[in-house]
């Protein structure tokens, strides 16, 4: 698999680190109290098949965080953009 980095062009998978689902939103309440919103953010995922927006870090390249849209059924990359 190769990831089209918007800064560096098409690069090998081995240059990147994976950080999971890019659609979950960190609650803005500071986290003083445990809430369902925090549990959902930290632990729960839709985990659907098909296009998946996910975070990749170009560790051995430009150090940019990317949001990559990738089809989980085929590994085809549909889009890659800067966070």
């Amino acid at each position: 698999m190769r990831i089209p980095c918007p800064h560096c062009g098409s690069r090998s998978l081995q240059e990147f680190l994976y950080h999971g689902d890019a659609t979950v939103q960190r609650p803005k309440d500071g986290g003083a109290a445990p809430t369902q919103a925090w549990t959902d953010y930290v632990y729960f995922r839709d985990n659907k098949n098909g296009p998946h927006q996910e975070l990749w870090y170009h560790a051995a390249g430009c150090h940019a965080w990317l949001v990559v849209t990738r089809d989980l059924a085929t590994h085809e990359i549909l889009e890659a953009r800067q966070v």
Partner: protein, 416 residues
């Protein structure tokens, strides 16, 4: 038909014309008392233990493909109970005890071989961690011994003891660990469940879960509606997809794990060996192939196939541990989809829906758990209370902060 030496002899004399199908190809009835989704190891084991130990009425297993087509046939066949945490050890030890009596119990040769599992350690710190793990096991009545370097060298002489980067210092050994024939586990449970009246319905994909007023009434399938008083889900790899049919979100990501088999070699590795400085585990099958694997690929996938960098990484681990395998050629490699939970431990629990039960999140350790998973899931479905040894595998442990994180890496499914 009961399998025995006598039946083998009799069939040999009759030209093997008397063997019957191991299980019926059942057509779905309109409704059942219990329906299990998933005809893999865990689903079939659940159906078997339900029929064997609990009086729950009529049971069906529905499988979208052929029986045993998922992870039960796509693993490295290792069985062990060398865990560290109190939530895990009694469960996996129950599994090991069930493995030890499995073949007599289900009258099927699952080729359970307690050849010993050696976890190699490479540093003082790792020795301490393994000693701690061994002590935790022994406190729970599980066998474990720390093997020193001279003993290890005598037992496994072919490891690379001169490797300067990953020096071998010894190993943690569980003698009762070993391997089992993975397909035979599925077939054996299917045959034994079928003999007790369980309907095993293949090529029957669940497309929706029908519910009325917070209760499940049955499942829509490609072979029509099947009513169910209780519904169990044991579909590791696709748990999130099936749970979504009931409107339930899970703390799970699906990831691909690869495994590998070399060409057949003469008997060489007579136990299971794991590399402590990377992630690599290996055994040799009775056909002679070296069966090995390593880490998951590291990113979400439903594609059942892996990437080349992971293959390279696994093989580098093997070369660092036992360079002699470098000239063996790979014959096959394959990928399977794993339910990776946020703490690396499974879920056997009730769900927000009254009569829907969940067995999921086996990460890449589900094979060894097959008997206990079925045993405890059957208990949960029949009694509506968790079995003692599986009481920690709750779905609400994430909200409660009672994680069972063997690796201690937190909510990072790709690192477990």
């Amino acid at each position: 038909m009961k399998y025995s030496a006598l039946t083998v002899l009799r069939e040999a004399l009759r030209g093997h014309k008397g063997w019957k199908s191991a299980w019926r190809d059942a057509t779905p009835a309109p409704d059942y008392d219990v329906v299990i989704i998933g005809g893999g190891g865990h689903g079939l084991a659940t159906a078997y233990y339900l029929a064997r130990h609990h009086n729950v009425g009529r049971i069906a297993v529905v499988e979208k493909s052929w029986l045993g087509s998922g992870s039960i046939g796509r693993n490295t066949t290792i069985i062990r109970s060398n865990y560290l945490l109190p939530g895990n050890i009694p469960f996996y030890e129950l599994s090991m005890k069930l493995w030890e009596g499995l073949e007599q119990d289900i009258n099927y040769n699952a080729m359970v071989s307690q050849r010993g599992v050696y976890n190699i350690y490479h540093s003082d710190a790792q020795r301490d961690a393994y000693a701690r793990r061994g002590n935790a096991m022994r406190l729970h009545g599980v066998d474990a011994e720390l093997v020193d370097l001279p003993t290890l060298k005598a037992k496994i002489p072919y490891l690379d003891y001169t490797n300067a980067r990953f020096p071998i210092q010894g190993a943690l050994l569980q003698k009762r660990g070993g391997t089992a024939r993975h397909d035979a586990v599925a077939w054996g449970y299917a045959r034994a469940a079928d003999a007790l009246g369980v309907d095993i319905i293949q090529n029957c994909e669940v497309t929706a879960i029908r519910q009325v007023g917070g209760k499940v009434t049955g499942v829509e399938t490609t072979r029509g509606f099947i009513g169910a008083k209780k519904l169990g889900v044991a579909v590791a790899g696709a748990s999130s997809l099936v749970a979504a049919m009931a409107g339930i979100r899970l703390p799970i990501e699906s990831h691909a794990l690869q495994a590998f088999v070399s060409e057949a070699l003469k008997p060489l590795i007579d136990n299971v060996i794991t590399f402590g400085a990377g992630h690599f585990y290996i055994s040799q099958s009775d056909k002679g192939g070296l069966v090995f694997g390593g880490d998951i690929d590291g990113y979400n996938s439903y594609a059942s196939r892996g990437n080349l960098p992971t293959i390279e990484d696994v093989c580098e681990g093997g070369m660092a541990l036992m360079p002699m395998i470098g000239r063996a050629r790979l014959v096959r490699h394959w990928g399977g989809i794993m339910d990776m939970t946020m703490d690396g431990s499974p879920i056997i629990d009730k769900t927000p829906l009254d009569n829907l039960y969940l067995n999921a999140g086996w990460c890449y350790g589900g094979f060894k758990a097959t008997p206990a998973s079925g045993y405890c899931f059957a208990h949960l479905i029949a009694q509506d209370t968790p079995h003692d040894v599986a009481a920690a595998y709750r779905l609400d442990r994430f909200a409660e902060g009672r994680l069972i994180d063997e690796k201690g890496v937190g909510a990072q499914p790709n690192l477990h």
